[in-house]
Symmetry: C2
Subunit: 903 residues, 2 copies
C-alpha cells in the first residue's frame, strides 16, 4: 500500500474510498465513493497527493514509481473502455483536473479532450462528425496551451476572434469545420513560436505534461495566496484526477442536464431540473437553446429517466441532503458527472432540514446545522420577486434594471418613490405614499423620515453607518454606501452612470444583496410563522445555552422582538427619544444652558417623556429584563451642523442682512463651536456627560425607577437594568452608580415600595476590558459594546473606515469586515479577558453583548465559547441568533470539524 501512488476507479469498483480525502483529495475521494456505490461514473484514476508532496520534496521531480503506476492505470482504463488514449478508430479522450483535500480555486483549471492530436481528430471526425472533432481539438490546444504551456489566453483569443471576423460570423458555433481547421493550424504555429517546440502529438506525453502542470500549480502565487487566506497548510499537496471524457452531443440519443433532488427555491420534495438532448453542458448555460424540464426526459428515454431518479434518490439518502447533480447521456448511456449538496434559499433550507428529520433521514441536531443562520433573514423580510431573467416589475410584465450596488445594510425589499429629505418622506408618509429616502448619509435628524420611508438608500457610509444601524433596528430595508450614486439634496436628483433620477420616480431596493433597481418591483411576502420555521426554532431553543435579547428603543420594536423570541431587551438607547419634535427643543435648551439650574429646568421638562417611554417598554417586556443605557452621544449631535451655520452666516453677511439677525445665528454657532470636536467618537460623550453633568444621569435614573414603580403597581413584573456607557475607569462607574442608587432610594421612599434593579456598564473601551476586575466591583452586569470596542481596539472609525476597508478585504489584510463579524483574534481576546477578570471579582456577573455583532452567526458562536450569558441584536435578527447559539452548542459537542454547517 505504501508504494501506491495511483488509484483507479471504474467498472463498479475503486481502489480508494470516500474517506481517503487526505490521499485522493476531495474530488478523487468522491469519485471513488460514487464508483463503489455502483453509480455510472466515467472511469479513470487518481494520482495521489503524496505524489505531489514528494514532487516538491525532490525539487519538482516525481518518484520513479509514479509513471509506471499511471500508465498501468491508463492501460486498465483503456481496457475497460475498449479504447486507446488518442489512438485507433475510437480514441480515448480524458479530462485532467486538480483536486486537493480542500476545494481550492486558484489552482490549475480543467483540461478537457486530452488525447486529441492530428491523427485522433480524424478518427473522431469519422465517428462523431468533422465539426465536433475540430472544435474539440482546437479547444484542447487552447486549454493545454494556456494551462500547461503557459501561453497567454489572450493570444489564442486573438487568433480565434480573427477567424470569426474573417468568416464574418458572430457566434462561435457559426464557424464551420473548415474555419476551425484554420484556427487549429494557427494555434499550432503559435505554440511553436512561443515554446520553440511543436504542439505535443504524443497523447502519453500530453498526459505527463498535464499531470506535472497540476502539481506545479500547487505552488503558484494564487494558490499560495488562497491557502494563506484560508489557513490551509502548504504541505498537503494536491491530487490529479484523470477521467474518460463523455459527450452529450453525439446525436439524438445523447444529452446533458442538471437537477436537484428537491426544489432548491421552495424546499418542496419534487424532482427538479432541466436538460437538452444532443448538447454539451455549456449549451445549457449559453441560452441559445431552451432547456426542457427534467420530467420530460421520461417521455424521451424512460429507462434513463428512471435510472436517474433512482440514482439521485440513493444519492440523497447516501449524503443525507438534497443533491445538486450533473449528468450526461452518451449514446443512451447515463453518466453521473458530479453530485454535491445543493445550494438553496433560506426558505428551502428550513423546509428541507425539517422534512429530512420527519423522513427519518437526519436527526434534529443535524437539521439545525443544515441551515445557515444568515439565510433566515430571507424568511423574515419581504423579498424582491425574481425569475431567471431578473427582478419582476410590479405589474409583472417586465424586468427591472440594476442601476447601482451598495452594501446590503438591512435586509428586505423596499419599493417607493424617491425623496431626498426626511421632511418630504414624512409628508409623503402621512399621505400613505410609499417612498425611498435617498441621502448622501443620514443623521439623527432624519429619524422621522426614515420611519416614514419604505427603505433607505445612502451613497456614503458602511454596514454600521447611522443609516444601516437605525434601519436594522427598525427592521427596515437599507442599501448603504452606494458610491456610484451622486445625491443632490438641493436639486432633488440622484445621478448614477449619467442617468438622472428625479424626486417622485420609482426605485426598488434589495437590502439583502445591496442592489438598487430603477422602477417599481414586485415583492414577495415571507412566512415567518410557517410550521417548519417554528419547528426548527423550537429545536434551536431546546439546544442552545446562550440567551437572546433584542436591541429596542420603543414599545413597537419591543413587540417585534418578543414575537421573534427575544427574552429581554439588551439595549435601549435613550438618546433616540430626544429627537422627537416635541422633545428636541427641551434637549437643546438643556445644551444651551450655562448653569446647572437652567439645565435642571430643561431636564425637568424631559423627565415625563422619558418616564412614559420606559413605562411603555416595561409593559411590553413584562417578566423580562430591560437594559436601558443612559445618554451616550455627544451633545452637538442635537444642535444644527457647524458648517451649515458657518455657510449661512457668511451668506447673510455677504448679502448684508441685518446685524441683529446675524448676531442671533452667531450665538448658536458660538455654542456649536464650543461643542465642536475633532474626533467626536473619542470625545465628550457616554458617561463623560454624566460625570460633567450629573443631573442628566439623575433625570434618566429617576425616569427609569419611577416607571418601574408605576408598572410594578399595575401588577406586571419589571426587571430594570441601568447601563452606564463608555466607562473606562472604575471611578466613573462608581460615581454614576452612586447617583442611580441615591435616586432609587428617593423614589422608593416616596412610593413606599421597592423594585429590584441593577446597575452595570458597557465594556466598549480597551481600558475597561483590561481593568474589568476593578470595574466589576461596581457593575452588576457587563454588556460588550462591540461596535465601539472594535473602533477603539483597531483604531478604526466606523464612519470613515469604508475608505480603506474595501482595499483591506481585497488585499487580504483581513478576511471579514470587523464591524460585521467579530474580530476574534483582537477584540475577542479583550472580551475573553474582561469576562474572566470581571467574573473573578464578581462571580455572578451577568455578561452579554449588545453590539451589531450580536446578530452575526460567527460572532454568536464566539460569544457562546467565551461563556457569555446572552447576546442582544436587532429584533429581526433574533431568530438568527437563536439558531447560531444552538449551532454553537452542537459544534462544541461534536468538535468543529465534524459538525460544521453543510448547507
Amino acid at each position: 500500500m505504501s508504494d501506491q501512488y495511483v488509484y483507479s476507479f471504474g467498472g463498479g469498483k475503486a481502489d480508494g474510498t470516500g474517506t481517503m480525502k487526505e490521499e485522493l483529495g476531495g474530488k478523487g475521494a468522491g469519485l471513488a465513493e460514487m464508483t463503489n456505490a455502483g453509480l455510472p461514473v466515467p472511469p479513470g484514476f487518481t494520482i495521489s497527493t503524496r505524489a505531489c508532496r514528494e514532487y516538491f520534496e525532490r525539487g519538482e521531480k516525481l518518484p520513479e514509481q509514479v509513471d509506471p503506476q499511471m500508465f498501468a492505470a491508463l492501460g486498465q482504463l483503456e481496457t475497460l473502455q475498449n479504447q486507446k488514449l488518442g489512438a485507433g478508430e475510437n480514441p480515448l479522450l480524458v479530462s485532467v483536473r486538480s483536486g486537493a483535500k480542500f476545494s481550492m480555486p486558484g489552482m490549475m483549471d480543467t483540461i478537457l479532450n486530452l488525447g486529441m492530436n492530428d491523427q485522433s481528430v480524424e478518427a473522431v471526425a469519422k465517428k462523431s462528425g468533422e465539426r465536433f472533432a475540430c472544435d474539440s481539438y482546437r479547444r484542447f490546444i487552447q486549454m493545454f496551451g494556456a494551462v500547461v504551456l503557459e501561453i497567454s489566453k489572450h493570444d489564442f483569443d486573438h487568433i480565434f476572434d480573427g477567424a470569426k471576423k474573417k468568416a464574418k460570423v458572430k457566434l462561435d458555433t457559426d464557424l464551420t469545420a473548415e474555419h476551425l481547421r484554420g484556427v487549429i493550424a494557427e494555434y499550432k504555429k503559435l505554440v511553436q513560436k512561443k515554446t520553440g517546440h511543436p504542439f505535443p502529438q504524443d497523447p502519453r506525453k500530453q498526459l505527463e505534461m498535464a499531470r506535472d502542470a497540476v502539481f506545479h500549480s500547487w505552488n503558484n502565487d494564487r494558490a499560495i495566496y488562497y491557502r494563506r487566506m484560508n489557513n490551509i497548510p502548504d504541505d498537503i499537496g494536491t491530487a490529479v484526477n484523470v477521467q474518460a471524457m463523455v459527450f452529450g452531443n453525439l446525436g439524438v440519443t445523447s444529452g446533458t442536464g442538471v437537477g436537484f433532488t428537491r426544489n432548491p427555491s421552495t424546499g418542496d420534495k419534487e424532482f427538479y431540473g432541466e436538460f437538452l438532448m444532443n448538447a454539451q453542458g455549456e449549451d445549457v448555460v449559453a441560452g441559445i437553446r431552451t432547456p426542457v424540464p427534467i420530467n420530460e426526459l421520461h417521455d424521451i428515454m424512460s429507462d434513463v429517466y428512471n435510472q436517474l431518479r433512482d440514482i439521485t434518490t440513493r444519492l440523497e439518502k447516501h449524503y443525507k441532503d438534497v443533491q445538486d447533480f450533473e449528468f450526461t447521456i452518451q449514446e443512451a448511456k447515463l453518466y453521473m458527472l458530479q453530485t454535491r449538496n445543493g445550494k438553496r434559499t433560506g426558505k428551502a433550507a428550513v423546509k428541507i432540514a425539517v422534512d429530512l428529520v420527519e423522513e427519518g433521514i437526519i436527526d434534529k441536531h443535524t437539521a439545525l446545522m443544515r441551515v445557515e443562520p444568515a439565510q433566515l433573514d430571507q424568511l423574515l423580510h419581504p423579498i424582491i420577486a425574481e425569475d431567471a431573467k431578473g427582478a419582476i416589475s410590479a405589474d409583472g410584465k417586465s424586468r427591472l434594471t440594476v442601476i447601482a450596488k451598495g452594501l446590503p445594510a438591512s435586509p428586505g425589499a423596499a419599493v417607493g418613490k424617491v425623496v431626498f429629505t426626511a421632511d418630504e418622506a414624512a409628508i409623503q408618509g402621512k399621505k400613505k405614499q410609499p417612498v425611498i429616502l435617498v441621502r448622501a448619509e443620514t443623521t439623527p435628524d432624519d429619524i422621522h423620515g426614515m420611519e416614514a420611508a419604505q427603505g433607505i438608500l445612502t451613497s456614503r457610509g458602511g454596514m454600521t453607518s447611522h443609516a444601516a444601524v437605525v434601519a436594522r433596528g427598525m427592521g427596515k430595508c437599507c442599501v448603504a454606501g452606494a458610491g456610484s450614486i451622486a445625491v443632490s439634496e438641493k436639486s432633488k436628483t440622484m445621478t448614477v452612470d449619467g442617468k438622472t433620477i428625479n424626486e417622485g420616480e420609482w426605485i426598488s431596493l434589495d437590502g439583502s444583496t445591496g442592489r438598487v433597481f430603477f422602477g417599481a418591483a414586485k415583492t414577495a411576502d415571507p412566512d415567518p410563522s410557517s410550521g417548519e420555521f417554528a419547528k426548527l426554532m423550537s429545536w434551536a431553543d431546546e439546544t442552545r445555552k446562550l440567551g437572546v435579547r433584542a436591541n429596542a428603543d420603543i414599545p413597537r420594536d419591543a413587540e417585534v422582538a418578543r414575537r421573534y423570541g427575544a427574552a429581554g431587551i439588551g439595549l435601549c438607547r435613550t438618546e433616540h427619544m430626544f429627537f422627537a419634535a416635541e422633545r428636541l427643543p427641551h434637549m437643546q435648551a438643556m445644551i444651551m444652558a450655562r448653569t446647572e439650574k437652567d439645565r435642571r429646568k430643561a431636564l425637568a421638562k424631559l423627565l415625563p417623556y422619558q418616564r412614559k417611554d420606559f413605562v411603555g417598554l416595561f409593559r411590553v417586556m413584562d417578566g423580562f429584563p430591560v437594559i436601558i443605557r443612559t445618554l451616550d452621544p455627544p451633545l452637538h449631535e442635537f444642535l444644527p451642523k457647524r458648517e451649515e451655520l458657518m455657510v449661512e452666516i457668511a451668506v447673510m453677511k455677504a448679502t448684508k442682512k441685518p446685524k441683529a439677525t446675524i448676531a442671533r445665528k452667531e450665538a448658536i454657532l458660538h455654542r456649536v463651536e464650543e461643542l465642536h470636536e475633532f474626533n467626536p467618537m473619542l470625545g465628550h460623550r457616554g458617561c463623560r456627560l454624566g460625570i460633567t453633568y450629573p443631573e442628566i444621569t439623575e433625570m434618566q435614573a429617576r425616569a427609569i425607577i419611577e416607571a418601574a414603580v408605576q408598572v410594578t403597581k399595575e401588577g406586571k413584573k419589571v426587571i430594570p437594568e441601568i447601563m452606564i456607557p463608555l466607562v473606562g475607569l472604575e471611578k466613573e462607574l462608581e460615581a454614576q452608580k452612586a447617583i442611580c442608587d441615591r435616586v432609587a432610594e428617593e423614589v422608593f421612599a416616596k412610593a413606599g415600595m421597592k423594585v429590584h434593579y441593577m446597575v452595570g456598564t458597557m465594556i466598549e473601551l480597551p481600558r475597561a476590558a483590561v481593568t474589568a476586575n476593578e470595574i466589576a466591583k461596581h457593575a452588576e452586569f457587563f454588556s460588550f459594546g462591540t461596535n465601539d470596542l472594535t473602533q477603539t481596539t483597531f483604531g478604526f472609525s466606523r464612519d470613515d473606515s469604508g475608505k480603506f476597508i474595501a482595499a483591506y478585504l481585497e488585499k487580504g489584510i483581513f478576511k471579514h469586515d470587523p464591524f460585521q463579524t467579530l474580530d476574534q483574534g483582537g477584540v475577542g481576546q479583550l472580551i475573553k479577558l474582561a469576562t474572566e477578570r470581571g467574573r473573578k471579582s464578581r462571580p455572578k456577573l451577568e455578561v452579554g453583548i449588545c453590539g451589531e455583532h450580536g446578530g452575526d452567526p460567527d460572532s454568536v458562536v464566539f460569544c457562546h465559547k467565551a461563556g457569555l450569558d446572552y447576546v442582544s441584536c436587532s429584533p429581526y435578527r433574533v431568530p438568527i441568533a437563536r439558531l447560531a447559539a444552538a449551532q454553537a452548542v452542537l459544534m462544541e459537542g461534536a468538535g468543529a470539524s465534524e459538525a460544521k454547517r453543510t448547507a
Copy 2:
C-alpha cells in the same frame, strides 16, 4: 509596652524614637527624634495611633487606659515646665495637633492656646500683658469653637468683623484689650446658643474634647476622600500631639523666624532666612513689619544665633539634606518648632545634591534621588526673572500682571510682540523682531510661524495639542488652552477679562507654569553646562540601564538632542517635511492624483527632498540609530480646510462671482469632501495610507535607504530603522515590510553595497498590543506610541478631551492627565503584555517608547520596570529622562519605600 498609648517627650529625652512613625505618626516621631537629639523642642506628649484605631473599633470610645496615661503625661509636662495647665500664676498653655503616618491635609486643624479660660486669661494678662492675653483667649475660643464644637467659622468672623466696625478700625491689631474682652463675651454667648452649653472652662475637659475631635476627624469626608485619592489605608489611624506653647511676642527678648541651611534658590552654602523680634509667626507672613535678614540676629542675641547655627548645622547632617526650619525665642530661650527638608529650585537641587556628595554627607545614589527630574526643566530653558513681588519687567523697574493662565505646555520663557497669524510671525521673524504667535489653536500650516516665534499661546487644546507637541519638539515655550482668552484673527486682537490686546503689544509667557503676562518680562538664562549639572548627569548615566533617545525631525533638533545626551533618534516624523513651501505643492498634487501613475509622478518630485532630509539626520547622528516613521497623518491635513472652502464658495455664489472661478474651487472642495473624515484620528492614516497607496511607502523607503548608502559612503556609521505606524494587524506590517525590503534590495544592488537596516512598528493600537506575538514575527523593533495608545485605550481624543479632563481631575476620577503621565493601570498593562508577547516570538526584539510620556519621569520609571530598552522624548527632556531612568534603578534596588525622592 503593649499597654502604652501615650509617649512623652521633653527635657532631652523622649519615650518614642524617630522610627516609630506607625505608632506616633510622622509629626510625633519627628518630635521624639529632635528631643532625643538634644534639641530645644517645646516638650509635650503624643497619644498613639493605636488609641485612634481602638477608638473606632469601640464605636468612638477610647480604651480606659488612655485617660490615666494622658493625665500622667500632662503631669510630667507640668512638672517639667513648672506650670499647671490653665491654672496658677503662670498657666501652662498647649497646642493640640493631629499627626498620621502620612501627611494628611483634610484632617483637624491645629488648636493653639489650649488651657485658656476666664481665670488663666487674667494670670497671663498679669504676666504678659492684657492685650496679649485677651487676644490669645479669643483666638482659642474661635479655634476650639470651629474645630471641636463644629460651629461655623463664619459666625465667629461675623462677631469679630462687627467689633472692628464698631471700633472703626481696619486691622485686627488695632483692637484694644477692651475691645477684645467684648469679643470674648460675644463668642461665649455664641457657644452657649449653638451648643446649649457654656464654653468649657475646665482645661482638662478642653484637652479631652480636643483629643477626641482629632480622632473623630480621621473619618470626616475630606479625610476619607484624601486617603482614597492617595491610596492611604483607612485603618491606620492618627496620633494626637500635645505640646507646650511658646511665644515669640513676650517682649524684646522674644522673637520668631524661619530659615534654610542653604540658599534654596541658588543652592549656595549660606545661612539663609529672616526673623522678627517680639512677634508671632503670623506677623512675619502678614507683611506689616519687615523681617530682618537672619544674620542680623547675631548682633542682637549672639548666643541664640550661635545656638541656632549649631543646631541647624547638626540637623542638616542628621537629616542629610538642606533643612527648612522654624524657631521661636521666648524670653531669650530658643525653641525649634519645626524642621523639614527644604523645598528648592531645580538649580539649587542639583547644586545641593552634588555639594552634599562632595562634603561626604551623602553618596552619589542618594544625590540622584534628591533631584526631582521635572525640576531639570528649569535648568534647560530661559526663565522669567522674578522676585517676591512678581515677574520683573524688562527694564527692571516694575512688575508685570498675570492676565491669564493656561496649561504649561512647553517650558521656558518667551517675550515678544503679539501676532495672530503664522505668516505675520514669519515676516516679523525675518526682521528679527521677537513675536509671540497667538492662535485659537495651531495647525500644521502654522509651522513656519511657530518656528519664527519666540513662543506660542493658544486659547484651545491641551498638553498634547498640536501647538504643545510641536513646541516641545522645538524646545520652544508654549502656553496652551488659555481658555479665558478670546482670539480674533480677523480683528487681530485678543481679549481677556474685558482687556483687549492688539497686534504689536508686548506679552510674556512662562511655559513652565502656564502664566501669561502683559508686557515684556526680564528673563534669566539657564546654565545647563554647569559643573554640578554635568556631574549629576554623569552619575545618572553610570547608574541607569534604560537608553534615552530623542524625537527629532530635522538636523537642528538632532544636534540639540545629541548635546543633551540622546543616544539616537527614537522618532523622526516624516510628514513634517512635507509642509515646507517648496514641497507642499507636490504633496498636494500627489493627493489630488486620480491614478497611481500621477501619484508616482508627484512622489518622484518629493523623493530628492526626503533623501536630503535623511542625509542631514544621518550625518548628525553618526554612530547612533535613527528611527524614521513613514507617513502618518490623514491626507486631508495637507489640503485647505473644508469649512473654509465651503464658506468661500457660498460667499462667491452670493456675490455672483464668475461660474468658472466657482467651479475651480468646487473641484478642490470635492476632493476635500472625499477625504473628509468624521474621526480623522481613527481614519485613513498611518500604515493604512501605505497599504492603499504602496507607492508612498516605496518612495519613503527609497529615500531612507539611498540616504543611508550615501552617508555610509562618506565614512559615517548609519543605523537606519524604518518604522511603520498604526499597525493593528500582522498582515499590514508584513505587506509594508515587504515593500521596504524590496526597495532596499534594489538600492543595494545599484549601489554595490549594503547597509544594515531594521524594519519595525509602532505599537499604538490595543489590537497591536494584544496580538504583539503575531506582529513581532515581522517586526525587528517595537516602539510604543503612547499618545495614540492612550487615545484608543481610553477612547479619548487628545484634541477634545480638554472638555472633560479638567472635571475628571477635579472630581478625582483620575489623579493625572493620562496624556501627561502614563496610565499604568490600563495603558501600562497593554505595554507590559505587548512587550512580553513580542519578546516571546522574537527574543531580541528592541522595545522602546516614543510617545510624549517618554519624557515624563514617572512614566520613565514604569518603562524601566516594564523592561523596555529605551525611551525617546523631545530633545529638551533628554536630561530629565536620563535622571528618571537612573532613579528607576535606585528605587528598584532599595525598594520603593526607602529610596523615594526626598526633594
